[in-house]
Amino acid sequence: MNHHPSNEVLLKHASGLLTDSLGLIVACHIDMCDSCCDSYKRYEALAAELVVESAGEQVSPELFDRMMASLGQHREAQAEPTVVPGLPKPLWRLVPQGLDGLEWKGMFKSVQTFDVETGDPRYVGRFYKILAGSKLPQHSHRGNEITLVLKGSFSDEMGRYNQGDFIVANETTEHQPIAGMEEDCICFAVLDAPIRFSGLQGLILNPFMAK
């Protein structure tokens, strides 16, 4: 693994600021990456320290009385999500069918997608499957797209990405990903705008989005 979320992103996640699909995909990476998991735990400790060293705000006396009066009488249900092999924990609830159960869609067999319903109005959650050795059309991005490699590998003009790698693309990214030969590449991505294909292939693939 060579591509990780920035320290700023890890601290934001520890502070509870990434509560949407961005947090979801960061959590998936942390679940797969020992080194970010370690850093992340330190950032949690750091966040906690920042909280306790800030000036507190007075709580109402009733809160204390109420709590002491019913201490231990309150039971919360701790539902454990069902394990879904092959997927990072944060995706277990959203994708209980697992990777093998996804209904892939797409005009071409070489590149297929599956959109997952996350309930997030700002970002689409999308799985990609690129057949071993296949190429995606050259394209640019209209917004931000974060991709996490779940299986296999792919490469583009900027480098090679393996299982667990966390890749950020934005408006300035124009590239042509190619899946590794060893096996089909499966990625999970969150994106805030549709991608735009360029060139002739782009016109055919995506007439509505042509410039």
Binding site: L17, T19, A27, D31, A47, E53, E57, L63, G119, P121
Partner: protein
């Protein structure tokens, strides 16, 4: 020592009770209500400030504190001081309760168990002198200037943009950017050394 992150105002407040871990042990082993009330007095105001800075009303903040501290009481036996400090453990419970509360209100989509699943436990236990220890995190924070800490706090707990922070602190935007950059640089160095 504590710092009030107001507009350029720096006030020292009483140091944290250093025995939060000990209180947790008494709560876990003896179901000690006295220890719980001490813990409450110590941590509830801090949690309230954290939740209020994140934009919640006083009433909602107290509702979340109540849920979080009930959970602290109920799950005290799961607290493991060799894995995390009590401060961190309680903070993460409160943060997660806040997210689940916001989700119930339809204000954000994910559950806390998705955003922060229990992390793999095979990571080595931390000895009291190691890097997850309070003292080491304190050292890291002490390594920041007060100005850098203010910017870090406002960025990560008040979720403010750099231009909002510049207005708050009455300094140029470039100053905010460079303070945050320097602070993050120090964190990064700390992470790669340890």
């Amino acid at each position: 020592m504590g710092i009030l992150y107001g507009k350029g105002l720096i006030t020292l407040v009483l140091p944290m009770d250093p025995n939060l871990n000990e209180l947790m042990t008494r709560i876990a082993n003896d179901r000690d209500r006295q220890a719980f009330s001490q813990l409450f007095n110590n941590i509830a105001p801090k949690l309230k400030a954290f939740l209020r800075k994140g934009g919640l009303s006083s009433e909602n903040a107290e509702e979340i504190i109540q849920e979080a501290l009930f959970t602290v009481w109920d799950r005290a036996a799961q607290f493991n001081s060799s894995k995390a400090s009590a401060t961190t453990w309680i903070y993460t419970i409160a943060r997660n309760k806040k997210i689940d509360w916001l989700r119930k209100q339809g204000r954000q989509p994910m559950t806390s168990s998705e955003l922060w699943p229990d992390l793999p436990d095979e990571s080595a236990e931390i000895d009291p002198d190691s890097d997850l220890n309070l003292a080491t995190v304190r050292k890291l924070l002490d390594n920041l200037t007060i100005e850098q800490r203010q910017v870090v706090y406002k960025t990560f707990f008040e979720a403010k943009s750099q231009s909002e922070i510049a207005l708050d602190l009455d300094v140029p935007l470039g100053t905010v950017k460079s303070r945050l950059r320097l602070a993050m640089k120090k964190f990064e160095n700390f992470m790669s050394v340890n």
